[in-house]
């Protein structure tokens, strides 16, 4: 008996070791690309062309970042991205909270109708062209509003918040009601303070999606460089280098241009890092909230 137990634990240990190896490999595959880009962004552009940069820069330089922060368009793009992220997340959270609270109120007379009006839009949408023409009709082409207004609420988040509110003890609301608080007071003094965790969660979701979006800039605001965003600028650089990579002629031409210390590739890496760092900075602190939202959303509404 004793012997058998011992043997099993050796086999167990081998399996444990294998599992850890597989998972470590996954971690490396996930993290390596980021480290690689980081290294290239700090490496001298002429040296990078020789290849062989992995996770440490060989010829350290800040030149690529200087170049990025010298470019007025990139600075505008950065500022626009920051503004739309803060504004979009703030307004998104407040709006979502209001709608979710109303829908969560079992005694609200139009609850079913309102809930359905919102729910339907998760499954049916007008599609790209009617939406594009609507923005055009409303004069929202080449405007900052187009970043905020059309997507002010993510309907799915209403359901995350609602299932959170449903999980709160109803006694608090009832007590406040007996004490003569009106609906607005219940909302601001009871619901909002209790909903802080879920507000953090959806606030982060909104912030990430605003920070990451490029398509609305591309489709609505591409002709006004004052309204450009960081992801869109990065997309343009990426597109250029892709076209270059696909044609040998263009590639050689590009290489000929890069004798002068900076190359589109190195600049691209620096922009990539600038666009990733804000997420990296907040991510460890808020990971908990992200995951909470994911599991909350999975609870059937």
């Amino acid at each position: 008996m004793l012997f058998r137990k011992r043997k099993k634990s050796i086999k167990d240990r081998v399996v444990d070791g294998l599992i850890i190896c597989v998972l470590l490999l996954i971690v490396i595959v996930t993290i390596y690309p980021f480290l690689n880009v980081l290294a290239i962004s700090f490496n001298d552009a002429n040296d990078t062309i020789k290849g062989g940069i992995h996770i440490f820069p060989r010829v350290f330089t800040l030149r690529n970042y200087e170049e990025v922060f010298k470019d007025p368009i990139l600075i505008t793009a950065f500022i626009n991205s920051v503004i739309r992220t803060i504004l979009g997340a703030g307004l998104g959270v407040i709006s979502t909270m209001m709608v979710s609270y109303v829908i969560s109120r079992k005694d609200f007379f139009a609850r079913k109708v309102v809930a359905n009006i919102f729910a339907v839009t998760m499954y049916i949408s007008g599609g790209m062209i009617p939406e594009f023409l609507l923005m055009k009709e409303m004069g929202m082409i080449n405007s900052f509003t187009v970043y905020i207004l059309p997507g002010i609420i993510g309907v799915y988040y209403i359901y995350i918040v609602r299932s959170f509110i449903d999980g709160l003890p109803s006694a608090l609301q009832e007590a406040a009601c007996i004490d003569g608080a009106n609906d607005l007071q219940i909302f601001t003094r009871i619901i909002l303070p209790l909903c802080k965790p879920v507000m953090a969660t959806i606030g982060l979701y909104y912030a990430v999606s605003h920070w990451n979006s490029w398509f609305d800039t591309y489709i609505y605001n591409s002709s006004d460089s004052n309204l450009t965003t960081l992801q869109y600028e990065l997309m343009k650089v990426l597109n250029n280098s892709n076209t270059a990579a696909s044609g040998q002629m263009l590639r050689m031409k590009q290489q000929a241009q890069t004798v002068h210390a900076i190359s589109p590739q190195s600049i691209r890496m620096a922009i990539t890092i600038v666009a990733t760092v804000p997420i990296l900075v907040v991510y460890p602190f808020v990971q908990k909230y992200f995951v909470q939202g994911m599991t909350l959303g999975a609870v059937k509404d």
């Binding site: 996954i26 009006i117 007008g126 790209m128 009617p130 609507l134 990451n212 059937k300």
Partner: protein, 313 residues
């Protein structure tokens, strides 16, 4: 009208409205918002049955109705079949490879005893979910470049003699796209399964251990049955989204050389509808896509009912 009961009803209705005025005020702006931004575009579906050319002073009913002309043109366009083929191919690859891997990953992660190591794996694998497709496409372009790490490794082990431009190989595009998607979402998609595993009664495992069950037997007889309903729900939802795989990764990773393999439905709409200004045709494609995805969703929902006893939607 003069029925007394009606009057009372009306009175209480007004009373309710006055009583719930704050609730109404809170939701009203967003009802208006959703009607303008989500329902008004549905009105635009009319365009698909007209020859729409934007002109000042023309109402939506002023354009000539042409019946199903644009739909017929769509079904006669060889490009449409190419695009559908790409969309479905990438969807199915995503379903076949992208669906089981997070489950496997969650099960593996659950076998890890060290909480610190578990945290490390989770923190790093959730991360790519939060970076944009623009960045992921950039990372993959770098990895797969002629002087990128993938070529370097393949050269090192002698699998190839010359570096390959992976992103310029049309036949590889579907695989690259699917890999990028898996790389980005593996960890994130496993959260739901990890949560399901965490919900399994731990006494079951203890009992199995006492009975001398091996690790594999525990997984097979406890873990998998414990999360099978979650697996089915997610599978069903994934089937529902088969046609709506988006276009970001295809657009950002694609280039003119691979376009026969990279063009998906949404890019087709973008090219024909917006860039060429064929609004009616583009809308017709959009309607086709919406109708198919709604049918798929209902079909998936019925499946869920049959398998799981409850609907997903």
């Amino acid at each position: 009208m003069n029925h007394p009961g009606y009057k009372i009803h009306k009175k209480t209705f007004i009373k309710t409205i006055v009583k719930q005025r704050y609730l109404i005020l809170m939701v009203l702006p967003f009802l208006i918002w959703i009607i303008i931004f989500k329902y008004l575009p549905l009105w635009g579906w009319l365009m698909a049955f007209q020859d729409y050319r934007p002109k000042a002073g023309m109402g939506i009913f002023d354009y000539p109705f042409v019946g199903l002309k644009h739909f017929i043109a769509l079904f006669q366009d060889p490009m449409f079949y190419n695009v559908m083929g790409n969309t479905l191919a990438m969807s199915f690859m995503q379903l076949i490879f992208g669906f089981p891997l997070p489950i496997l990953f969650a099960i593996l992660l659950n076998e890890v005893k060290s909480i610190k190591f578990k945290k490390l794996v989770q923190t790093s694998t959730y991360l790519p979910h939060f970076v944009s497709w623009v960045i992921v496409a950039g990372l993959f372009t770098t990895l797969l470049a002629r002087d990128g790490i993938v070529n370097e490794m393949l050269l090192l082990i002698g699998a190839i003699k010359e570096p390959i431009s992976f992103l310029a190989l049309p036949r590889w595009f579907w695989g690259i796209c699917t890999s990028a998607e898996i790389w980005k979402e593996l960890g994130w998609n496993s959260i739901i399964f990890l949560a399901a595993i965490a919900g399994i009664d731990p006494t079951l495992y203890e009992a199995a251990k006492v009975d001398g069950a091996s690790r594999w037997q525990s997984i097979k007889h406890i873990t998998i049955p414990g999360i099978i309903s979650t697996i089915l729900v997610i599978l069903v939802l994934d089937i529902g989204w088969i046609i709506s795989i988006g276009f970001e990764k295809q657009y950002l990773l694609g280039n003119s050389i691979v376009q026969d393999y990279s063009k998906v439905l949404d890019l087709y709409i973008l090219d024909y509808g917006i860039k060429l200004g064929r609004y009616s045709f583009g809308t017709a494609i959009g309607i086709f896509k919406s109708v198919v995805s709604i049918i798929l969703l209902f079909f998936a929902n019925q499946l869920a009912k049959r398998w799981n006893g409850q609907t997903v939607i």
